[in-house]
């Protein structure tokens, strides 16, 4: 049945177009936004621990709010919010910022768990040695915490990668948008959407397996 | 006489009845590591046998094989004449179906080192669960028997308690009652006092002594409590490297062992 309907000629035609969109948009956004969220997440995590309470709880509130609301609405909100001031803004940049900030809230949680997994003896030893706070963080806590957090960060990055088609909401021509256009043009969607799915699978599955391996390795 | 016949003869001395448990050419390997190699021994019906020996000598594996918690690599185990997991058919070794295994398994109960009480149930519910859902007893019947058993292990008033509210020793006594509620012909005791604080060991052992004195359940015991082993056992088997290196009555085993390794081991633990 599949063979009768699946047109290989269309598939061959669609593949290079989708791959280009994948490399130019999907992958680009994922890489830049994940870097942003890895850095921001750490900033939030340290902030939550070190800031005085009157600054800590608004931060906490902000992070929960961003984490619990949908990316499409956040994309639309920021995009049209910015368009008012800068009509020619590049939607791709908006996408990177929204994805970066959204997933940084998840990564902050992962960092927090990583930091909390460090035994109190490590803090106490640092205090006993009179290490200043910055040195304690940089030399003692973070190296251990990041080691514990690494697989989680990787996993959130994969999750973000699979969310990039949400860029369709702000009219960025990423891979799935292209696949829909292609399908609409040719009156057959099966080829382009199947290829889009396979490209996602081909990129995310090996990465996910790698993260599981990394996690096992880091456990010892 | 072959070793097989020797063990059979000594088992027959202990018990008039037919052998309750037979291990025949039992092999157990974990990957490349052979724990038991061509092991043969019998346990008579109603007999109390203690397995002693250094850790890693295969004692616990024997209990776990009997309880079908481990897969038998080679050989045969018979319970009351019935094959447990594998049978001989036209000279070939055939694995039994799960249903057949389950039938024979019902004759056996086990008490674990870590108690393993079900945390989602009260003490009473722990005990009546299997009698109701496995043996098909009515709730009243199961409760009556459970109360009797709780009285027997000295916890008659703790039926409504939650396992976490009990001490380790109390939990282990509930686990013993739970195993007995299935009316097993054979009970396997796997280091049942090893996880307990020293002051709680006595109560558990007294329950077991009482059980040995008042019932004719076949008992297979792995323990480090040598005094207890001496008190309740009909026979003691000394294991080393997956083999029985000495098989004797407890008074002989503990006062005048013949094997050098046994002497060494007993000197270290006594």
């Amino acid at each position: 049945m599949l063979a009768a309907i699946f047109d290989w000629n269309l598939a061959v035609e669609a593949f290079p177009q989708l791959l280009v969109a994948f490399l130019k948009v999907t992958l680009l956004v994922t890489v830049v936004a994940s870097l942003l969220s890895i850095i921001l997440g750490l900033v939030w995590a340290i902030g939550l621990r070190q800031l005085p309470a009157w600054l800590g709880w608004p931060l906490r509130l902000f992070l929960d709010f961003v984490r619990m609301t949908p990316i499409p609405v956040q994309l639309l909100f920021v995009f049209y919010g910015v368009v008012v001031f800068r009509p020619r803004v590049d939607a791709l940049i908006i996408g990177v910022i929204v994805f970066g900030v959204h997933y940084s809230t998840y990564m902050a949680e992962s960092y927090r768990a990583g930091i909390e997994s460090i035994r109190s003896g490590q803090w106490e030893a640092a205090t006993a040695l009179s290490l200043p706070a910055t040195r304690t963080w940089r030399a003692v806590i973070l190296p251990q915490a990041i080691r514990n957090t690494l697989p989680s960060l990787g996993n959130w990055t994969i999750a973000m990668f699979k969310d990039t088609p949400y860029l369709i909401f702000i009219h960025v021509a990423e891979m799935v948008t292209r696949a829909r256009e292609f399908g609409g043009m040719k009156f057959s969607y099966i080829e382009s959407f199947t290829i889009a799915g396979l490209i996602f699978l081909a990129a995310s599955y090996p990465t996910a397996v790698l993260m599981r391996k990394l996690e096992k390795k880091l456990e010892y | 006489m072959s070793t097989d016949e020797t063990t059979q003869a000594s088992a027959a001395q202990q018990s008039e009845a037919s052998p309750g448990i037979i291990f025949e050419g039992v092999v157990k390997r974990f990957g490349d590591h052979t724990v038991l190699n061509e092991l043969n021994f019998h346990v008579g019906k109603g007999e109390r046998v203690t397995l002693i020996g250094p850790s890693g000598s295969g004692k616990t594996t024997i209990l776990r094989l009997l309880m079908t918690l481990e897969h038998l690599t080679g050989g045969y185990i018979y319970v009351d004449g019935e094959p447990l997991t594998h049978k001989k058919e036209n000279g070939k070794r055939v694995e039994l179906r799960a249903k057949q295994v389950a039938q024979t398994r019902k004759r056996i109960g086990m008490v674990f080192q870590q108690f393993n009480l079900f945390p989602n149930m009260s003490v009473m519910e722990n005990i009546i669960e299997a009698p109701i859902h496995v043996l098909g007893k009515s709730k009243e019947e199961a409760r009556g028997r459970a109360q009797q058993l709780l009285d027997q292990v000295g916890l008659g008033d703790r039926g409504d308690a939650h396992p976490t509210q009990l001490s380790g020793g109390q939990q282990q006594r509930v686990a013993i009652a739970r195993a007995l509620a299935m009316d097993p012909e054979i009970i396997l005791l796997d280091e049942v006092t090893s996880a307990l604080d020293p002051e709680l060991v006595g109560d558990v052992l007294n329950v077991l002594r009482d059980l040995a004195a008042t019932t004719d359940i076949t008992m297979l015991i792995v323990t480090h409590e040598m005094q207890f082993a001496q008190d309740v056992s009909d026979r003691v088997l000394m294991f080393d490297g997956g083999k029985i290196i000495e098989d004797a009555k407890p008074d002989v085993m503990f006062s005048n062992p013949s094997n050098e390794r046994t002497k060494e081991f007993l000197r270290a633990v006594l």
Binding site: M68, T69, F193, T194, G197, A208 | G109, F112, A130
Partner: protein, 237 residues
């Protein structure tokens, strides 16, 4: 500022009356299907014979690996072409959400079954319990308490995932907000939408936390849910 508030108070009821039902139906349908799929696939992966476990694993990896929106489009656009079945917008959304989050949930179920102590499994064997009795009476109640934090996170993600259903032509909150943007302004329209999603997510999350506490209380334990985010990260990757 007063303009914002007047816009906001116009938009909020409008979104609720015109967009809420599509969002809520997608969520409820998706959540029910998610639970069913997660339990079936998770139990199959953990308890099934080799062939079934492998099959379940393949299904899970395909749905985890190919992105919700691709699945949504596939079901909406390709199903009619392939099977001559048009599920329509709402059912396409429900099926896509349920299968996608169900695949993540299967990993949560499998992990929780795996986390039930070995001694509990062995004791059920020692008490000769049949498979169904063992799973239903002993293992599941314990695994359930372990999987609720994971399901909590997934349910919140599912609430957020419903924002995609506008792509298959459902007039949900996000779609209505984007319409309202033109008449009532960006801040009021999307502010109201975010607020509605937040409230739904909080309700769902509170409900799950209540169930979690109840399940843990029944086990007599108060497990720290420290490793939840890590486990969720593994599941959704």
């Amino acid at each position: 500022m007063t303009e914002f508030f007047s816009d906001f108070s116009t938009v909020l009821p409008r979104l609720i009356s015109e967009g809420l039902s599509a969002t809520v139906y997608s969520f409820l349908g998706g959540a029910v299907l998610m639970l069913i799929v997660a339990v079936l696939l998770g139990v199959a992966m953990h308890q099934g014979p080799k062939w079934l476990a492998t099959l379940a694993r393949i299904v899970v990896e395909i749905f985890r690996g190919t992105s919700l929106i691709v699945q949504l489009f596939w079901i909406f656009y390709v199903f009619p072409q392939l099977f001559a079945v048009d599920l329509g917008s709402l059912w396409s959304a429900i099926v896509a959400l349920g299968l996608n989050y169900g695949a993540y949930g299967a990993e949560v179920v499998r992990g929780s079954l795996n986390a039930v102590p070995k001694g509990q499994w062995e004791t059920t064997t020692a008490l000769s319990m049949p498979w169904l009795t063992k799973m239903r009476r002993i293992i599941w109640p314990q695994a359930w308490a372990l999987m609720l934090p994971g399901f909590n996170n997934l349910a919140v993600m599912l609430v957020k995932g419903t924002a995609a259903v506008g792509l298959v032509l459902l007039n949900d909150i996000t779609f209505e907000a984007n319409q309202a943007r033109i008449t009532n302004g960006v801040w009021a329209a999307f502010g109201a939408a975010l607020l509605i999603y937040l409230v739904i997510a909080l309700i769902v999350s509170t409900l799950f936390r209540w169930m979690e506490r109840r399940a843990q209380h029944r086990l007599g334990l108060w497990v720290k849910a420290a490793s939840t985010t890590k486990a969720t990260a593994e599941a959704v990757a």
